[in-house]
Symmetry: C2
């Protein structure tokens, strides 16, 4: 079974890792959100690509889900001593990724070339693609005005109230080379449990037509997000955060929907939307949960 | 006594540190070579400024003389794993300096502003000035063609034979703000024991008129350099490397010359050039040697 998975950061990376543990590498393409990318300290930082790659390579920090395991923080501590911007905590190993990526981008390589080379260096076998080689930057419209995504997300710790989103550059962004081909040959598309507003939506706005069965795994469990501000965003946008809200968000393109056992009472409402459902344990606290959930999702896809 | 010291890297930094231990901060200005500066991995790296500052701040690696004490190497190790350029060994703490400097330069700050702010952050009290805020880049004419200085010095480890030097940008480079004023109020100028060809000459080409007594400390002892390629450069340029060669190099501007006890036999030849001499122990292997030599130099200046 050939799968294209759309992923944002930590949650998406975990399911992508589960899928990578089951599928032959040539049958999995992970298309990653780049709307969170930003330029900082002169570096082009791609948080979601890095989280997905570090996770697939077994290099990710198991405590945080993002950044590198066994990380040290000597560079950023010294940037701080010099009065530089230290709110985005870049580890020493992680900085190598940004330095070398920035160097290559400036030399004229595309983000997908750089990502492919990095995957090779890290021993990652499935294909990881940025959603686009053109910069797309998520802008958060908030009660404090429009904020660049990382300014909102990390610097302001999601405190401003969200009113909407704009994906700067999305109008001209083409899917990264290989994305259309991967979608064409895929049996299904999996939306990993990532933020619908700021992780999956930007990818969907670039990859306009999928024309394949789509299965989404809810990032919301019991009205809350495992990680990140998706539930808070729903609430601030006037929508009660729930698996139903997620299913509704995607309803026009969804074939199947995977929700947690904790939300089994909502299954029938989603079925009424003519969306097929799988109720299972969607939490991925332990490494083994990734493969288990991926297995459930693939089995579900096979049954559609 | 107000002193302006001209310095390159390790040797120059040590004498500057000795002078800083004796003179009140307001009486010492160190003007540092920037001809070794280069752009690498997207960073603007100023090796001599950093060596001088780390040394004055007590942050320098006591083993190498350059770089930071207690350094870690996690970033460069990971750049190397990604196939990036790792021949210039940048430590994790050191990278913070380059990242934050590059960020500020891109924001429009001048190199002297950045250097002043960094000195403040590091608790350095004497004034440290780059020779110029405009980029000057030392180019080495060699038997393998023209090489950028760090390409010759670090990447090629000084192996190509030197035929001459060119200081790209020197024609339009003005002395950094404060340099002329410091020279005007100085009682004397000290050439620290740095490479005449590639550390002191570039400074002299920018700071054209000094109009003050000049005392040079020989970087060559017994026909050899303590560190670096000065002796090799003299030989390849057809000049026998010796303290006499150094004195001759500077003869038109020199009032006094400090040479090592090991070269006392050459003192009379230098006196014949109408240059006053001080013969003393010029090696600075131990931290205490810096203050001792600085004291000797200042006493010598007082006697001129």
């Amino acid at each position: 079974m050939k799968i294209v998975a759309l992923a944002g950061g930590v949650g998406g990376a975990k399911l992508a890792d589960g899928l990578a543990q089951i599928l032959p590498p040539e049958d999995l393409t992970v298309i990653v959100n780049t709307g969170d990318d930003f330029e900082h300290l002169g570096l082009t930082i791609c948080p979601d690509i890095d989280t997905v790659c570090y996770t697939l390579a077994g290099l990710a920090n198991p405590e945080t889900g993002w950044g590198r395991a066994g990380e040290t923080w000597n560079t950023i501590a010294n940037v701080e001593k010099l009065g530089g911007p230290a709110w985005f905590r870049l580890g020493d190993q992680d900085i190598a990724t940004h330095l070398e990526r920035t160097r290559r981008l400036k030399e004229g390589q595309s983000l997908s070339q750089v990502t492919r080379d990095f995957c090779k260096a890290w021993g990652i076998q499935p294909t990881v693609l940025p959603m686009s080689d053109s910069p797309v930057r998520t802008m958060v419209d908030s009660d404090e005005g429009e904020l660049a995504f990382q300014e909102y997300f990390v610097h302001r710790q999601c405190q401003p109230r969200v009113r909407g989103f704009r994906f700067d550059g999305v109008e001209v962004a083409e899917p990264a080379p290989g994305a259309k081909e991967a979608l064409k040959s895929a049996d299904a598309v999996v939306f990993c449990p990532s933020n619908p507003w700021v992780s999956i939506d930007p990818i969907l706005k670039v990859i306009k037509n999928m024309d394949k069965p789509v299965v989404a795994v809810s990032p919301i469990i019991g009205g809350k997000t495992v990680k990140g501000p998706a539930a808070k965003m729903y609430a601030e946008l006037g929508i009660e955060p729930s698996v139903l809200a997620v299913a509704n968000h995607y309803r026009t393109i969804l074939t199947g929907f995977v929700l947690d056992n904790a939300d089994s009472n909502i299954e029938s409402v989603i079925k009424d939307l003519k969306i097929k459902t799988l109720v299972t344990d969607t939490l991925m606290n332990q490494p083994a949960d990734r493969k288990r959930l991926a297995n459930d999702v693939l089995f579900f896809i096979g049954s559609l």
